[in-house]
């Protein structure tokens, strides 16, 4: 049996929020390894800390204590500037509400992360075309988000997430705002990204049908990671 190396290693992670003088624990002593090229679903009730854990793995929030290593980089030790640079090349984001920039076309939205790279205009164009081809939206590249359906917008958002070729994609309820057919298309697309492009996907979801697409499902409850690892069918 093949043993996959862990691309994400989390050790003894604690995170809490302050509300006035009250300290609310959100994540408690999380230790978790996520293997390379794995599609992991993170489930749990609202307020269980799923999105917070996702944000910490993606380097957009700071832990109270503990360590997170992604691809061998201890991101908990990086400064804000270093984290911003790291995010631009190592993590792609997929959000529930797509979060495209409304004044930019599909093409321009996908091109946005590439502006931070040293790629030439021509190279950027090639990358964007390829990404839109993968999500099957080349015919809509000049459309603005308002001219696209929810499913199409999410496909543009996915293209934006992987266009700079990050190793990890984090998805926070990517099908939460979509109908069943569109949701299936998005999940199939994410599956393809794992199988064909070798990406690692960490997906937060409430939807058991979405979680079924994952290789592995982990449950969080009140900030504690359930010890049982559930292999998806």
């Amino acid at each position: 049996m093949e043993t996959k190396t862990a691309i994400v290693q989390i050790k003894n992670l604690f995170k809490s929020y302050k509300r006035g003088s009250q300290i609310i624990p959100v994540l408690q002593d999380i230790t978790l390894d996520i293997a390379d090229n794995e599609f992991m679903a993170l489930m749990g009730p609202s307020g269980s800390g799923k999105s917070t854990l996702l944000n910490l793995i993606a380097g957009i929030d700071k832990a109270d204590s503990g360590s997170i290593s992604v691809g061998g980089v201890a991101i908990t030790t990086l400064s804000e500037t270093e984290l911003a640079k790291w995010r631009s090349s190592h993590v792609g984001f997929i959000f529930q509400f797509y979060n495209l920039i409304p004044v930019l076309t599909a093409f321009e939205n996908v091109e946005l992360p590439l502006l931070l790279t040293g790629l030439s205009r021509k190279e950027r164009k090639e990358h964007v075309r390829m990404a839109l081809q993968i999500v099957n939206l080349t015919d809509r590249m000049d459309h603005y988000p308002s001219q696209l359906s929810g499913g199409q917008q999410q496909r543009v958002a996915i293209a934006r997430a992987f266009v700079s070729d990050p190793a990890i994609l984090v998805a926070d309820e990517p099908t939460g705002d979509l109908d069943r057919i569109s949701a299936k298309e998005i999940l199939d697309l994410m599956e393809r990204l794992v199988h064909e492009l070798g990406k690692t996907i960490i997906m937060v979801t409430h939807d058991p049908r979405a979680a079924e697409k994952a290789h592995i499902i982990r449950h969080l409850d009140k900030g504690v990671l359930n010890a049982n690892t559930q292999a998806a069918s």
Binding site: N55, I60, A84, S88, F95, L104, E108, L112, L115, R121
Partner: protein
């Protein structure tokens, strides 16, 4: 390039709000430009002064006269090149509302001392040889429809009676800053009348205009003139034309200061309006800024977008404001030519317009940009949903 495109698209995303803000800035820049031009117009006489002209007047006050006999004594003083004299006549053309600056002048020398008032040789000659002749500036001639040969009657206030003059010349200014609203006639004509009606007022002049050979000698010549008439019945004060004009302006300095303050208040008000626009804009886009940060854009990239947007709006308003300033200044200058004979938009005013817009654009963006830099991505994403 794409960032610039985003900047432009963002700037005009909320069309009504941006249009109203641009309109507000345009009006503010227009008001600022006009008020600054009023201030410049106030100092136009000072600015148009020659460094080689001195004014000698009675040391008590300009309203007291000096004897005509001083003329030859002043001419003898080393450094003096030429000399002329004038007298404020204070005549009224038809009614008080038609204010015309009118002077009795020494016809033989007046245009030597004021070469910026340009007359044709024929008109100069006609003026010299007709004791009842007068010369008017181009602007007032146009304003009242005067033509060469017309008889112009002024009602005297300081020198009572109706005074008829024949227009023999219409002078033009050699420079943009030259005053084209003055009215000159022969001092000899006035003096002859005084000799008949008020002999004690005859052979008196309002002030002397002294041309010096070298501007560096001006202080020495001025001191020498005043020394010559020390302890006489009419002691003198001699100063450069600039200082003389400045003396008039300083009498109304409070008004100039008030105009200046109002011009800056206009800018401060529009700065507040612009800051409000940028604050609203940035608050609406908090989520987008968070998304951009997740993509790897740093706080300073976002701040750059906010500053850029603010500057685009400010400079768009500024461009429209400057474009509107010129026709507005022309219309204002024409309507107020009696009070502001020279009403030109100075290049300094345009630079100040641009500087004011730059300050408005930058200041308005400071707070929203600071918030965007400090924005935590997690907080920003939470605002989206």
């Amino acid at each position: 390039m794409q960032i610039l495109k985003l900047l432009l698209k963002n700037s005009f995303r909320h069309k009504l709000r941006t249009s109203l803000t641009v309109f507000g800035i345009m009006i503010a820049i227009l008001a600022f430009g006009l008020l600054r031009t009023v201030v410049s117009a106030w100092y136009a006489g000072v600015e148009a002064s020659s460094a080689t002209r001195l004014i000698t007047r009675n040391s008590i006050s300009i309203i007291f006269f000096l004897p005509l006999s001083y003329k030859e004594k002043i001419r003898q003083i080393p450094g003096v090149k030429n000399i002329s004299y004038s007298c404020w006549f204070g005549g009224i053309y038809i009614s008080e509302k038609n204010f015309i600056p009118n002077f009795a002048v020494d016809a033989k020398t007046v245009f030597e001392l004021w070469p910026e008032f340009v007359l044709t040789d024929k008109q100069k000659n006609d003026f010299l040889h007709d004791r009842k002749a007068c010369v008017a500036g181009r602007k007032i001639a146009e304003k009242y429809g005067w033509k060469i040969g017309d008889t112009i009657t002024l009602r005297g206030t300081i020198f009572p009676g109706n005074w008829d003059f024949t227009l023999r010349g219409i002078y033009k200014g050699a420079y943009k800053s030259s005053d084209e609203t003055q009215f000159f006639f022969h001092w000899d004509y006035l003096n002859e009348s005084m000799k008949k009606t008020s002999p004690n007022r005859a052979d008196q002049v309002g002030w002397y205009v002294v041309g010096v050979k070298n501007p560096d000698l001006a202080a020495d010549v001025a001191a020498a003139i005043d020394k010559t008439f020390k302890n006489s019945l009419a002691e003198t004060i001699t100063e450069t034309e600039k200082a003389f004009q400045q003396g008039f302006v300083s009498m109304t300095e409070a008004i100039v200061i008030a105009v200046r303050i109002v011009s800056f208040v206009v800018i401060i008000i529009i700065m507040a309006v612009m800051a409000n626009t940028m604050a609203m804009t940035a608050r609406e886009r908090i989520g987008e800024y968070a998304i951009m940060k997740t993509l790897g854009f740093g706080g300073w990239h976002i701040a750059g977008l906010i500053f850029g947007e603010s500057l685009i709006i400010a400079f768009t308003g500024c461009a429209f404001g400057i474009a509107a300033t010129y026709p507005a200044a022309n219309a204002f200058g024409d309507a107020m030519s009696t009070y502001f004979p020279i009403f030109n938009v100075q290049s300094e005013t345009i630079y100040m317009d641009i500087a004011a817009s730059l300050v408005v654009g930058l200041v308005a963006a400071v707070f929203p940009a600071w918030r965007a830099v400090k924005l935590s991505i997690a907080d920003g994403l939470r605002r989206i949903g």
